[in-house]
Amino acid sequence: MTHRPRTSGINASLWRTRLVSAAQFVFPFLVIGISWELVARTGLVSQASLPSPSQILQKFWELSVGDGLLWRHLGQSLYRLSIGYVLAMTSGLIFGSILAMNRIVREMFSPILSLLISVPTIAWVPVFLITLGLGDRTVIAAVFLGGFFAITYNTVRGIEMVDVNKIRAAQTMGARGPRLFASVLLPASSVSVITGLRLGIGYSWRALVGGEMLSAMVRWGIGKMIYQARFWNDVSVMFVGLLMIGLTGFLLDRLFIRWLERVTIERWGMVPER
């Protein structure tokens, strides 16, 4: 590919806008961090119950660079998340498609589905603890359930909302069954499907943290890290864990879902590029 200076000029201004928006994003955290640090330095609040940002950063350094425990916790969490989420994604897409394509199945299951959705995912954890044991399987089941309902629900909605004329046109041109599904229904419903995947990964991530906290046999995981810190009243570790949960949840959305959007609905021109 030939390199043209004009594109690099556009790129430079694009990078400048990105830099400005990144700075705008970080700025409030800096303000709060600095004022928090100043309040902590005055000694008005006990350090044990509210450590200063510098102490939290120091703890973060110890856990991440020092002994690397943080990465082991995070790695275990991401491992469970990926298994549970992939299961939720495949079964949610398949089940959602079946529900959307078949009216009788939909009439049978959709009231049951909306009843089950109303139960908080975390409330199933005790059931899994009884039936699946106190280890990894319970956590993965919670992750699965967290993502499954959102993905199923949005897949059904997406396929139902596909323009009937599009389906008729495809049918006239001879597309039926799996072919109609793969080349018309799925692409046409992908905006809603991706909404489901986005909600799903958020729910899965939250369910994961709760599941890890409640499963007694689980040793590693970011949720477990926070839970264990309670026994030493180590508030800095809790803050590190909470920030990692927020940040990882944010990054999962920004990296994974944004990538998915870029290679599908944005490329197909279904939504404006961001």
């Binding site: 049978m108 049951i112 009843l115 908080p120 059931v127 939250r206 839970y227 309670r230």
Partner: protein, 260 residues
């Protein structure tokens, strides 16, 4: 047509429950892990009647959870609407708090529990605080979106016609954003309910539906665990139908802001 749409799902659930009951009676499944439907109902009834003259244990659990949800969600609603209006009205405030909300909102309530237990101890203060935080975020977010979507021309027109700055909030911002605010309140209350139940697992001292389910699971009383989940469905259904829908009916729907 309306009646027919209920036949299939009811039939499905009924046959599933019958099969479950049947399998439990024939000992195909481990009944101490999968309590049969009749055992579930019986253990709920027992929980209700055991100490009946003085108190019903079951209703006390439900009442404790509901009380926490109402207090927490009310605090979260007021704080969320105030914050949302501020964020919607001022660009600077919006720019400042939007990143903070984006990062803090995905943190689940149960993960905040250890921190608040250190600060506030076990029981109501911790549960209500985390519940209020959970309700706060979606309400603030939606209120801000609603206020930001108001056409500035309308505000200008009203100001020219002599509405004061404070008056424009009551007369323009709040009614125009009401649809968004209501959507936020629905999300926020649902989130608050889920969070309160979850935090009760780890932070409740002795009462609450979450505590009831958790306590039963530790002693493998599976009848109470499944019964508790059934109650969660019923209570949430009632909150949504009786409370939120009726609030919606007397406000935004009557004002014609959303389609009924």
């Amino acid at each position: 047509m309306r009646a027919r749409s209920w036949i299939l799902p009811v039939l499905l659930v009924a046959s599933f429950l019958a099969l479950w009951e049947f399998a439990a009676h024939l000992k195909w499944i481990n009944v101490s892990l999968f309590a049969s439907p009749s055992v579930i109902v019986r253990s709920l009834v027992k929980l209700h009647t055991r100490r009946l003259p003085e108190q019903s244990i079951l209703l006390t659990h439900i009442g404790a959870s509901l009380q926490r949800v109402f207090v927490a969600a009310s605090i979260g609603t007021v704080a969320g609407v105030v914050m949302g209006v501020l964020m919607g009205a001022s660009r600077i405030i919006y720019r400042f708090f939007d990143p903070i909300i984006t990062i803090l909102m995905p943190i689940p309530g149960i993960a905040q529990a250890p921190l608040f237990i250190v600060w506030l101890g076990f029981g109501d203060p911790t549960i209500i605080t985390i519940g209020a935080i959970a309700a706060f975020f979606p309400i603030a977010f939606n209120t801000a979106a609603g206020v930001r979507s108001i056409d500035p021309q309308i505000v200008r027109a009203a100001r020219i016609m002599g509405v004061s700055r404070a008056g424009s909030f009551a007369r323009i911002y709040m009614p125009s954003a009401a649809g968004h605010i209501m959507a936020g309140i629905k999300l926020g209350w649902a989130r608050c309910w889920r969070t309160v139940i979850a935090v009760e697992f780890v932070a409740a001292a002795s009462w609450g539906l979450g505590y009831m389910i958790w306590d039963a699971s530790e002693y493998i009383r599976s009848g109470v665990v499944y019964g508790g989940i059934l109650l969660l469905m019923i209570v949430y259904f009632l909150i949504e139908r009786l409370l939120l829908d009726s609030i919606e009916r007397v406000t935004v729907r009557r004002w014609g802001m959303i389609q009924s």
